[in-house]
Amino acid sequence: MMVSPASVLKSAMAKVPWVLSLVVSAMAFCLFFLQTALDLYKTGQKGLTFVLLSAGAGIAYGLIVIPLLGVIIWLVLKLAKSAKDLKWVVSSLCLSYSGAMIYGLLGILFSLVFAWKTSVAFGVTGVLWAIGPMIIAIRATTDGKNMLSIPIATVVSGIVLLSWSLFGQL
């Protein structure tokens, strides 16, 4: 990814089963939402039921909302005459959250073992680090056009951040 993202993406996407990419985004958001709920649980604002429901909501978010955003991106790219198929776009969007999944795992570790509040430090950071791969993935579908990839990545990341904040206010 760091050396030649387009070629790495092409070969990697051919090998990765699309279900696995959904598992990555589901796991990433499950861990992210779980950390948020644990932070609220630690301060006594929410109960244990909310923590369990949050994990489920995170899985649903990663399984439904992110692929749905992928479908919207695919439609936009289709208008821009991109030849990439829907599965490729959705899979690459979901896989761009693999860094967020790693941050999520570390966050849960620090949250449970050291009782840290990790939703912002690890959760939001993970979402931030997903922006780069997301831009690169979208750029690969548009033959390197930044005019599309950067605005799309901005909107997707903004939606994720804002919807997460709405979840925290529930």
Partner: protein, 184 residues
């Protein structure tokens, strides 16, 4: 210089400056007074200055390690790659403004560090795209420069965050003196 490099140059430059202005404003924003003009003004100045330094340093180092490319295609190729890489700051600039003004967070460092690091990777990738071959040295050098600058940003803002308060206090003091008031 190739024609495509000139196309949109002014826009790229404007967007880069706006991103650093956003970073500066967010980093020096006062939690209890988000629209404080002293903090905003100071943030704009520091953001622009930092952005200028970052751009010069990154393209300077990339020029230094790509002597053959500089001779063959001119330094403008390297400058163009860095300019394109800087566009990767846009999502982070938007996110940091949302975090500062909508969520009222006071933690812009993570957003800015992630943005600066993304620039490093993007510049190296763009350079590889322009030359037709990806070189590891460009990725390593640009990532190293970006890491140093993100560290520099986070450390310097910790110290400089007090400056807008001093400026505001100094100006208030001077204005009260000029209006006929007394210091004592």
């Amino acid at each position: 210089m190739e024609e495509y490099m000139l196309k949109g140059k002014a826009w790229r430059s404007l967007l880069r400056r706006l991103c650093f202005i956003a970073f500066g404003i967010a980093a020096f924003s006062k939690p209890l007074d988000r629209l404080n003009l002293y903090n905003i003004g100071f943030g704009i100045v520091i953001g622009l200055f930092f952005g200028f330094l970052f751009k010069k340093f990154l393209r300077g180092l990339l020029s230094l390690i790509n002597k053959t490319l500089r001779k063959e295609k001119g330094k403008e190729t390297i400058y163009y790659a860095v300019e394109i890489g800087m566009l990767f700051l846009i999502p982070f600039a938007v996110m940091v403004l949302i975090a500062t003004y909508y969520f009222k967070w006071s933690m812009s460092g993570g957003f800015i560090a992630a943005g600066i690091m993304a620039v490093g990777t993007a510049s190296a990738l763009e350079l590889g795209k322009l030359t037709g071959r990806q070189e590891l040295k460009n990725t390593i050098i640009s990532s190293g420069v970006c890491f140093l600058f993100s560290l520099l940003w986070n450390l310097s803002t910790q110290i400089l965050v007090k400056v807008p308060g001093f400026i505001e206090g100094g100006i208030s003091l001077l204005s009260s003196v000029f209006k006929g008031g007394s210091i004592l």
